[in-house]
Symmetry: C2
Subunit: 227 residues, 2 copies
Amino acid sequence: MDTRTPPPERSPWLPFESRRRARDEKREAVLRTAVQLFLEQGYHRATLNEVADRLNITKPALYNYFRSKEDILFECWTIGQERVEDRIAEIAAADESGLVTLQMLVRAYAAIMASTFGASLVRFNVADLSEPNQKATLAGKRRIDRAFRNAIKQGIADGSVKPCDVKLTAFAILGALNWIGHWYKPGGELSPEQIANDFASRLTADIAKRPAKKPAEKKATKPVRKK
Amino acid sequence: MDTRTPPPERSPWLPFESRRRARDEKREAVLRTAVQLFLEQGYHRATLNEVADRLNITKPALYNYFRSKEDILFECWTIGQERVEDRIAEIAAADESGLVTLQMLVRAYAAIMASTFGASLVRFNVADLSEPNQKATLAGKRRIDRAFRNAIKQGIADGSVKPCDVKLTAFAILGALNWIGHWYKPGGELSPEQIANDFASRLTADIAKRPAKKPAEKKATKPVRKK
């Protein structure tokens, strides 16, 4: 029924740019499906066969995108970690007081923990990664720890946070946040935003200095951005 | 000088009671070694061969005490869980106010998290257990959750705790506590008792009602030794 003159012979291959994009999309689809399955069944029980099944492809086809199951696990972790680090960088750039920085960190991290890739930061076992990848995750954890500790230190210095044990305070806050990755179920009674807002005030309430009080002289301490 | 008649021929077997005790001790030694190795290397990487090696026995000898690797994992979890439940029962019997009960729970749970069997409650993956054992661990988690929630509810009712979202409050507290099982290293700068005492006041500071005295801020968290 189509009476137009036939177009020049069409290549069965997509143009390069579209191919790259299609490849990225497919790669991401593999990761999304895999992380979901790993979270549901545990990394060791979940099989790449099932990942492939859910995507209507064969298991060997997965190896176009990833070298191994461990490679997929590490990529899932990387996506979660990058999201956190992007937000840390944004928040540092906002250049707020230590307390406000800390609250922004709590809010951002809580929301990420309530996402699938975010949960992958805390639900999988580092021991299942290769040694270089284990090192990368430990370094990543340390960068997150440092961001929280720096905000607390800055808050103590600028008078927005009460003097406290910086390390224990960061552990207590991060623990409460990491637990979200374990208990949060999408579609529950609270949205990630509600949880994030609640935690931002809840987890800093005991160390926040009341603004009503006479503020100590405000030092213009900039967040120490290391590395 | 001993003129007693010689004793009846000595059995090469220990008396029943001693045998039972020896067996229990051996069983516990297997568990202690296994949980240590599982924590160091991850459950999947750790092998029963290495557990046996560390105990100077053969792998088949392990099967005198446990049916399977999974059986050992579940037993480790059970020991941690029983310790928590014993403390919950003791604390409930003390019949204190909601706030004091909550603080006692935090203190007890924190100290257990800093122990090897306690860490096994949060460091292993429930998905690695058989289905009945998974159910048992989930029921156990729920009992712990319930103890914390009940203390908070009781505190709101008796006026020792500020009105708050009971569920989120319990999640925040338990998250901070569970994280101890991940970061605590024996022989670190803080003892389990110091951490437990610090967390008992830290994690309840924002919901504790101040004694009618004076609304001025009271130092709720004593900074423990710093680095």
